[in-house]
Symmetry: none
Subunit: 243 residues, 2 copies
DNA sequence: GGAACGCTTCGGCCCCGGCCGAAGCGTCGG
DNA sequence: CCGACGCTTCGGCCGGGGCCGAAGCGTTCC
């Protein structure tokens, strides 16, 4: 491949996020939900035709995926790679100190800040607490990036969390937007989150990425990680539609 | 901070790489070397004024760092975060295995990675090895920044390395971009590099910042620092100037 | 001192692409 | 069946920004 060709490709990819409207759309979708085209247009403060053009472009580039339902067009980030791309850029933007303060502020309060899924893994205060408890117990090693220790591998197996073979080391640190601290992501994070859902440790709340820790979940967190998690009073999640 | 503000910031960051010329520049710098403005202009196939504008913009944004030396302007990626940003974007662009892998390989294997000058001092694997050997022998103290010990002062004098009086403590740690570890810079680093050149320990290679360790240099490194440096098989370094 | 060289500033050209209003199409609900 | 609604296409406006040549400035070399 020609060097100028790869330069042009890189530029094309960067150009996807080099527009304030498209950036606002992608940042909004970073919450993992599927938004309708109209919601995104209002959120980004542009007219519907403008949003349509941007969304077409983002979908064509493979950054967003869409599902059509009746007269609605639902959009979400196309996959973990797309989410990581947006996150990486957002992190560089503000430097280490101020990642995406708006998202953080918007979600600091409410159950989304406390316990939610971020794409495919646990996030919020819960995600950070689990990650730190695992690190403190020697299941994770955070000295050079984030890595699973041998003890961590055993722990996952002993607790019935199955990770695709050969992907045991697929651990990634994801910066939490509300906590501003890293939490467990990657294949292991996804497997752990899936197990927590199937084992009934946490439940999804309707129409939201927020999750609730069940009584069984509180017991499991305490027994397995020494974590004390209080079920907290919650108000219902807002619609993202607020202009 | 407003959500639209962070969107604009993200867009501004992405816009840095959203131009084929700037993308070509950043991809070229991914090899870890410092290129001159003119080399980058020729590489990206644009006129000098155009390159100047792009470089100003990239430096102002903190993506690139510059060092001015005489009539030359040397540019390099500002740090690991900048390199990771470019790499991350390039990876999303071309799928997992793209040109980035080869660039990384070039960075590690080229002779520039092995031994070169960085501004006025030794860098690359050689620079890092010398620095670490000096630290291990108590000639440098790296506990609070990098400093010359009394033993280090004696050692310099005994080996004929003259540092301007009153500048004995002028030691600076310079982050090596291929090794990503600190190496000796500052007045002492410059004096040591100059001595290594005049004493024939290392030779400059034509049209390049690369240096070659001579047989006499290997002996000196071994006797003075206990360092074993193998003259490595090398292919001729390409000039970055190739259009 | 003079010539070569590398970089920068200035001015002007030109095109890409973001934006919207109006109009059209399919879907949903009464 | 009709109106409300969500999304899309079309056409036209407009600004930002990439590009270069010419000229200028400081450095280096002879």
């Amino acid at each position: 491949m020609d060097t100028s060709t790869s330069a042009r490709r890189l530029a094309d990819t960067a150009a996807l996020l080099a527009d304030p409207t498209r950036a606002a759309i992608c940042l909004a979708l970073l919450d993992g939900r599927a938004w309708t085209a109209g919601e995104l247009a209002r959120h980004a403060k542009v007219a519907a035709p403008t949003a349509t053009g941007h969304l077409n472009r983002l979908v064509a580039a493979g950054l967003l995926a869409e599902e059509r339902q009746g007269r609605h067009r639902y959009l979400r980030l196309a996959g973990p790679a797309a989410a990581e791309l947006v996150e990486g850029l957002a992190q560089f933007t503000g430097g280490p100190a101020a990642p995406v303060a708006s998202l953080r502020a918007a979600r600091r309060e409410g159950e989304l800040a406390r316990a939610r899924t971020c794409y495919d893994h646990l996030a919020g205060a819960l995600g950070v607490a689990v990650t730190e408890a695992m690190t403190a117990r020697g299941l994770l090693d955070d000295r050079h990036g984030l890595a699973l220790t041998p003890a961590g591998t055993d722990w996952l197996g002993a607790n019935g969390v199955t990770v695709a073979p050969g992907r045991r080391a697929a651990v990634r640190a994801c910066l939490d937007f509300t906590e501003r601290r890293p939490h467990l992501a990657g294949a292991v994070g996804a497997a752990l989150c899936g197990h927590a859902l199937t084992a009934g440790w946490v439940e999804r709340r309707p129409d939201s990425r927020a999750v609730r820790v069940t009584a069984a979940g509180e017991r499991a967190l305490h027994e397995l990680l020494g974590l004390r998690w209080d079920a907290a009073p919650r108000d219902a999640g807002r619609s993202p539609d607020a202009a």
